[in-house]
Symmetry: C2
Subunit: 129 residues, 2 copies
């Protein structure tokens, strides 16, 4: 079986294929953060434009305040998101992607586009139940 050389060799060079992302390795935690239920959607929302807290809450439909705050803190700790708080009254806080965050978002976008384009067909084809 043949796999596109550019992708397969890239992965093998990091030793993925023998045991994939060994359980103790740092990649697992980063992966969990990036692909977390709300992490993906927040990164995507910020990839389009910088957003304020309330705007983010409205854009990422269904996220609770708790999970928005928690996920933002995680993404900030990993250096994907920068928090910019202005000590005005009322307070104003903007969130933006860091350069590192943009690199991740750029790799998330093709996946999301594909899912958006194919979701209907996938759901329609699921076995009943």
């Amino acid at each position: 079986m043949m796999v596109s050389a550019s992708t397969a060799s890239g992965l093998d060079s990091y030793g993925f294929m023998a045991g994939i992302l060994p359980s103790a390795c740092p990649s697992r935690t980063v992966l969990d953060h990036v692909t977390s239920k709300w992490g993906v959607l927040i990164l995507l929302a910020l990839s389009a434009q910088d957003r304020r807290w309330g705007e983010l809450r409205r854009t990422v439909q269904g996220v609770s305040e708790k999970m928005l705050a928690q996920t933002l803190r995680t993404l900030e700790a990993d250096g994907f998101v920068q928090r910019d708080a202005q000590p005005t009254i009322p307070p104003r806080v903007d969130y933006r992607l860091t350069p590192r965050g943009r690199e991740v978002a750029d790799r998330l976008l093709p996946l999301m586009e594909w899912i958006a384009a194919n979701a209907d067909a996938i759901v329609a084809g699921r076995p009943a139940g």
Copy 2:
């Protein structure tokens, strides 16, 4: 702010940016399956080569039998993975990506490569705690 036209316009054409993947839409469920804790790793493992159950269990380190079975069933229901059982004794079951599964895996690979290459720096930069 300028974003690469090829990615941004692609997303906007699916109406992502106003409210991102509205909570009720099918994309959310597909996204959850693809980016689930074990789903990503299983798709990645199968993208390198077809694998038997036991091989998959060893390759995806840390997965329990229950979660491996459960995740494989989900990926199969979504049409990403094909199960090929041979009624021999002892039984032999192979799993392979479907064409649809390969399309997803191809979009997952660049993300995984980036994470593998940057995980150490990210973890090292996390605040203490």
